[in-house]
Structures are given as structure tokens and as C-alpha cells.
Amino acid sequence: MKHKKAKKYGMVIDLDKCTGCGSCMVACMAENNVPFRKDESNKLLSITWMRVYKLTNGKPFPNTDICYLPRPCMHCEGQHEGHSPCVTVCPAIATDYNIETGIVSQIYTRCFGCRYCMASCPYHARYFNWWDPVWPDGMEKYLSPNVSPRMRGVVEKCSFCFHKYQLAKEKAFMKGRRELKEDEYQTACTQACPADAITFGDLNNPNHAVYRMAKPDPKHHGRPTNPHAFRLLERLGTNPKVYYLSSREWVRRAGDNYLENESIAKKPAHHE
């Protein structure tokens, strides 16, 4: 039997299409049994595996511009496969890099809440449960059996809806297939986005839309070769598997904290 190449699941988010509507945030909460509290306005305590950030270009009226940027976990590959910032610091091996899929897992039962991973994640994608989750009486009826509710004292984050991968694999397996088709494994945020701004798939598969959109360069740790594409904080070398597209240069610059007069390396200057 031919050994299939490992998958590298990733995401491309088109910021020109993203409207900042927040559907991805809520689809994720609903899919993954994310808890909520009476006051969610302290965003340091508010658990949002997917969070939509609002960027502004900082220019005065009427030259102001805004752009929304949805931020799931980046599932960083690191400089060598599996050297994600969080995985390398976890003393409990509670967060792990899955070589088969490229997904960075979080194993709640192993996590003892030291929060080293939170400190090392440059994307603030990780959240700590300061309280046990509480659902108003009766509301626990909507909880999904596919994702375990978390407890006080553990860290949680976006899993690329890993349970959906498992379910899809099971289904395919029942049909006698080992390979998943592109549409068989799609994350909840991707499916819910009413603007079709999120695309999900295997970055190693040239037939998948994510590959065609990001055009990752395997020689440079998957750096995008599409001039409109960028990754957050590219210069840190975390090699995220989430790519962004934007036709606006100020947005691309904001994505890597460029200084005002610095030119973006190795990318053609673009309009706007």
C-alpha cells in the first residue's frame, strides 16, 4: 500500500470579503461547547477560540479605514515540524503537534493550568478557564457530545474542529476510504461564514483551494507566494497555517507589525 503524504490542514481568510459579522466566532462557540458568562466585556477573560479583531489604518477623517481580522489558532508548524511555540514549552505534553494532520491539539485532561503555552503564544489564541462553565438551567441541552466541556483550571483553544476530522474519517472509513475529500472535513467557522471569506483544506494538496489561494513556498516554510497573501507575524518564524489575503497594503503591513516607513520584504509593492 502506498504511503500517503501527511496532511497539513490550514486556512486562508480573505479579508477583502470578511465583513466582521462575527458568525465564525459564534459558530465556533456553538460547535465547541464554549462557555459564556454574564459579563464578557473583559476580553482577557472572554473565551473566544475564534476572535475577530478590528484593525484601523490610524488616519484621520475622511481617510480612515477599518479591516476585520478573524483569528483562530494558527496551528504553527515552527522552524521544524512540530516546534510550535506552545508545544515546546508545555511541561505536561498537554498540547501536541499531530504529524498526520499538522493540527496542534489541546488535551484537557493533561493540562494542569501552568499557562506557559499562553505566555508563549504570540497570537493570544489560548484561553484559560478561570471558572467552571455554567449553563443556565436547561441550556446544557444543546451541548454537543462530540466535544467535552472544559473545567476550571485548564487552557483551551481552537482545534481546527478536530472532532469533525474524526467524524469525517470514521464516515469515510465506513465507506472503505482512507482519504478524505476536500469538502468532507470543513471547520464550523468555514461553513458558517456567510461571506465565504474562510477557506479550509490541505496546504500540501495542490488541488485544494487553500493551496491555490496561498501558494505556499515549501522551500521557505510555506511562506505565501501570492502577493496579496500574508501570515501574522511572519518574521517570528512560527510558520502559521493560517493565511490572510488582502488587497490593501496597510492591512498586510499591520499583519506583521511593520514600522511606518519599512518596506515589506520580498513582496511587490501594491496598489492602495
Binding site: 480573505d14 470579503k17 465583513t19 466582521g20 459579522c21 462575527g22 458568525s23 466566532m25 459564534v26 459558530a27 462557540m29 456553538a30 459564556f36 454574564k38 464578557e40 466585556s41 473583559n42 476580553k43 472572554s46 473566544t48 475577530v52 484601523t56 490610524g58 484621520p60 477623517f61 475622511p62 477599518i66 479591516c67 491539539s105 488535551i107 485532561t109 467552571d132 462553565p133 438551567d137 436547561g138 441550556m139 446544557e140 441541552k141 444543546y142 451541548l143 454537543s144 457530545p145 462530540n146 467535552s148 466541556p149 472544559r150 472532532h163 474524526q166 474519517k169 470514521e170 472509513f173 465506513m174 472503505g176 482512507r178 461553513q191 458558517a192 456567510p194 461571506a195 465565504d196 471569506a197
Partner: protein, 741 residues
Amino acid sequence: MKIDRRSFLSFLIGGGAGTALSPLPWKLMDDSSIWTQMWPWTPVPEDGEASYVNSACTLCPGGCGITVRKIDDRAVKIEGMKGHPVNNGGLCILGLSGLQLLYGPTRVKTPLKRVGKRGQGSWEKISWKDAISEVAKILSDLRSTGQSHTVGCISDSDRGTVPRLFERFLTVYGSPNLMRTSSIIDSYELTLHLMQGVQASPGFDFENADFILSFGSGIIDGWGSPVRMFRANSAWRNTGGKIIQIEPRLSNTAAKSDKWIPANPGTEAALALGIAHVIIKESLYDAEFVDNYSAGFEDWKRFVLDKYGPDSVATITGIDNTTIIALARSFARASKPLAICGRGQGTTPGSLDECTTVHALNALVGNINKQGGIFAVAEPDYINWPEVEMDATAAIGMQKDRLDGAGSKKYPFSRYLLNRLPQAINSGEKYPLKALFVGDANPLYTMSDSKAVKKAFDKVPFVVSFSSYMNETAQNADLILPNHAYLERYEDIPTPPGMPKPVISLTRPVVEPQLNTKHTGDIIILLAKAMGGNIADAFAWNSYDACLKETLGNKWQVMIKKGFWSYPDFFVQTHEESFDTISGKFEFVSKETGSLKQFKPVNIEGDKTNYPLLLMPYDSIRLANGVIGNPPFVMKSVDDTVLKGNNVFIEINPKTAGEQGLREGQLAMLSTPVGKAKVKVHLFDGIMPGLVALPRGLGHTAFDDYLAGKGINFNELIGPVEDPVSGLDTAWGIRVKLAKV
């Protein structure tokens, strides 16, 4: 989880046995144990058989198709329905949170009768039988004393079987006072009536348009059918379609548009006239359409050429004349241009002048009833019930003037003027309202000048709410007859606002009714039967479901299968047959209303000296501001520059804030001629200096602890301003003063 590991294991091995032996099942099992481990002190969701039910969302008028995932008899997730003509798989943030409403603490669990003072929150349970006979008794007493017309009903929609049952009930009972929550649709319906002579709703063919000139419409902020608009917006990104957004604040729509043009607030109609001026002057209009199918063009042309040159329009709107000229040219030269209006989500009707002028732009470029243009969409005629037999009492009652003045000598063209109801009740000028039914609506929250609305409600001796949720109106009712939640009932969802082709979706029970609720349709039927006589005769159905099934006829089976019905034979009328005006043509100047009036800015409340700034609302898709308030998940998505703790932020330009001595994050007292509120300051470069913006959708007093008490309801700060022709609310803002506290 009752995960029975052994059966899970055998399921996989059983599956594996038929195919080649592979390590995969073992790997999967391992993953599954890693990812789904449980602790005894957090809830353990029970596993079971997964299934999917197609239905439709009713949380806004958007009419999206949904697919609900179930585990045994529990609904666990709402997703967008693939292949649905409105949303094809996508869903908005509110629709995705629907299960928090279904299973949430805001549901009214059983019929309730008020015991304490109104609004105090003391209720006693009442049986359905007693509740219905109590309503029947009050209605019979009013009717037998010749006061049938003093019964009113408020509903968000007048389409579909449930609103039509209300209407039927009032007709045969003898009251003309059915009122619909107002919106930009009122202005559009009136515009289509006056300029095209038709009774229809506007249908915008966005999918085929390539140049959208939006006079403040929040295309991606919840205007029209929200998910459809998101999809259209993305399609324009692929096809190169352009959006020009005209509004004084950088909304999400403005930020995503190809060009944002901030015009002085309230001067949009003048800008439309300026654009018309350039198009006419440079002969860029569609002469084919204008010459053959329009009337009154010469008069209108003279008026526009005389008064609305780019220079004078530049002075009014604050947009420079070269921009106006360029805009007019690109609009007229686009292959499928489309001009639209209705600020933000279109919750206020706005001035009729503005709507007719914007519509005239569409006529100038000849895109009326044409692909990529605007259609007059008649209501699908699937509701064909036998005429009701009215007795003398009903006939007399129906002939009474409407309390809101719609159809009166003053406002002959309007059908509903809910905005005028509070004033009509409070002034007592006509007759009192003795009983009020509130269907799917929440007027105590959504109507402007909350204080006056509350005062008016207090004067109505008997208020019945049919709400599934404890909203502001239910809270202040005398009797609550809770409807099933939308995921527990059948109902037809008529064409959403702005769709160019009629489509009816079917809401259907995803789960059994969880509480002691009753379908509003059934309540109306039971009530009619309790009243007896002609009224009972008009409601011969055994149940609402029977009524719906019979009404939909052969569509029923299709809708059960597909979830919706679209009209395959919907065809577009030719220009010869589509105008039913006095002239038989499209009328640039309506022969019914007559003369042309110069552009006059809407007179907003407040004087400049005491209230130096302007306050405007803004709409966000993350803040539900209609009949439903934000569920907890949606609250989570609200930015901390919009709400922090219980404080809402106003947006203000840093320059203006500086002049007022205000800094980021500071508390300030905001006062308008209508109300006062404490707010926090958020500096935002994207808002025109001199303006203050406050989001709609906060400041609830009802619903749950996740929503109530947070922020301010914009309607507490603004009152309605009547349009001179339509009587609809034209207020887009109000003058305001800000002071440090």
C-alpha cells in the same frame, strides 16, 4: 457521556472488518479518547443518534434556511441550509445562536396573568382555557358596546398566515387597527405606489447588479435580508462589482466599499438630485425608457436642472462638485447600476422625498423591472381564504378611522403608521385604545421615544403579548400567551425584504414544544371559536397546522421536502404592462401627490445653542435590535470599544472630542431634547466631526442577565419626526449635548 467505550470500539472494528485491516481504527480510537475525555463535575452531554432537520430562521425578517443538527431529541447546533435561495449555507450570528433562545432562560414557560403592577414582574400561572376565555370576554364586552374598533394589533409583518389570521380576526371582529412595525419597506412601498401605481414590495437584483450606489444602506450591517447581502457583497469581490457608500460615518459597509463618500447627515436626497442633474445635463440617461415609459420627466428635469447643479449640491452635502460629477458619470455609465436607500438596517422609513429621488435615479438609468435593477414584487397570492362575512358591528367598526391616521385625509397613501400611535393615544384626539394584541413585535423596545411609548401603553387597559420570550412588551403586558419557539412550530416565512423573486420558506418543529406554550395561530382560532357567531365561522379550521397545510395546498409537500417554495413561473412584466399610474407610465412626478417641492433637510429635534452636536444611531449585525435581543453568544462578540461592563461607548471624532474636552474612555452625560444617558467616550477617526454615534440594540430592560441593563436603548434618546407626505418617521438623528461627569 454515556459513551459506552465498548460499543464505540466494536462499531469501528465492525466497520473495519469489511475492508482491509488497517491501523486506522486504533488511531481514531486513541484520538477520540484524547479529545473527548470528561470530568464528572462539568456537564456530560449524552451521546445518541445524530440527525438533521431543515427549517427556517424567524429571528429577523431575513428568512434564512437552516439545518439543525440533533442528537436524539436534543437540538445541538444550527447551521445554514445549503441550496436555500436566500442564504445557501451561510448564517448570521443571531441565527447561529438560536438554541440559546430555544433552551434559554428568557422563554415564557406558561401562560401568565399579571398580578402586581404593570411591569413589576409579578405573574400568576393561568390555564390556556381560562386565558382564552378571559380575552374572549373582554373582546365580547367591547364589541357589544360598539367599541370593536378600539382593539388594536401590532405585528412586525403583515405577510404570511399568522399576521393574516390576526388581520382576518380584526376584520370580522370589526377593527381597522392592525399596525405593522415600520421600516424602509414602508417608504419603498409608498414610492412604488406613487411612481408606478402598484401595491408591491421592492426587489433588488443585487446578484446581477455591478454598481451599487448606497445612500447609507448598511449592505453588510444587516440591511435587507442580511445573509443574502453578505453573499452578494462577496460575489461583487469576485466579479468586480462596485459599491459606493454615502454616509457620514465609516460603517463596516463604508469600510468594505470601493468608495466611501461622507455626506452631511440628512442631505442624501440633495445628493441624489445633484447626481440626477449631471446625468440629465450630460444626456447620460436611458432615453429609451425615459421617452417611452415615463411621464412628468420634463417637469422634473426643469426642477432638477434649475436648482441642483453640482455647486449648490456641494454646498448642501459638503461633497465637492468634482466628486458629484464623477459619481454621476460612473453611475450612469455602469452596465448594471442600482441605487438604494434606507439608513443602516433600514429600521426607520426615512423621508419619502429621499426614497422617491433615489428611485428616480434608477428610472433615469432605466433599470426598473430589469435584470440587475429594482423590481416591484407583488405578494405571492398563496393565501386564498374565503371572504369573511361581516355582521353590522364589524362593518361599522371597520369603517372607523384608523387610530394611527394611515389612510386618512392627511396621509392618504400610507397603510400603517405605527410611529403615530403613541401620540394618538396620549393626546386622546380620536378614540382610546381599549385592548392591544402584540404579535411578533416588541414595540416597547423598538419604537422611538420610549417614554411616550410607555405612557401610551399604560393608557391601554388590556395588553396581550404573544411573545415566546420575556421581552419588554411582554414584561409590560397584562396577559402573556406564549407562542411556541420557532424551532417548535410550523409557520410559513414569506419573501424576505428586498428579494427580487418571491420565495416562501417553512419553519418546522425541530424539537417537541419544551414548555407549556401554544401556537399563536391556534390561539387566534380558539379565540374566534370562543367568540362564536360570524367570528367563529371565519375560522373553520381545526388547528393552525391544518390551516397552514390547506393554505399551502400542493406547495406543502414540496416545502416539507425542500424546506422552501420558490416560484418557478415568476416572470418579469414588460414596461407596457407594469405601470398602473394615472398616466400608465413611470411617473417622475406623481400625479397623485402633485407638485415638486424643493429639497428641505429633515427637521431634526433640538436647537444648535443648547445641543451643539448631532447624535445618530448605528447598526451592527452583532447587536440584534429588533424583536429579539442578543443571546449570550452574540453578546460575547460585542467589542470592548462598544460595551464595557454596563457602559456603552459613543463614537466621536478625536477633533470634536478635543473641543468638548473629552478623552478616550471617559464618562460623559449625553442629553437630547428627549432623554439623557451616561455613556463612555470612544474616539473614532472614521466619524465626521460634529457627530456622535451610538449603537442600536443595547439598553434592554427585559431578557436575561446576559443582556439586560447593559448600555442604553437609542430609542430613549430620540423621538419620531413625521414626514409631511407619508406621516412615517423620518428622524435620522437628533441634536445632542455632551458633558463630562
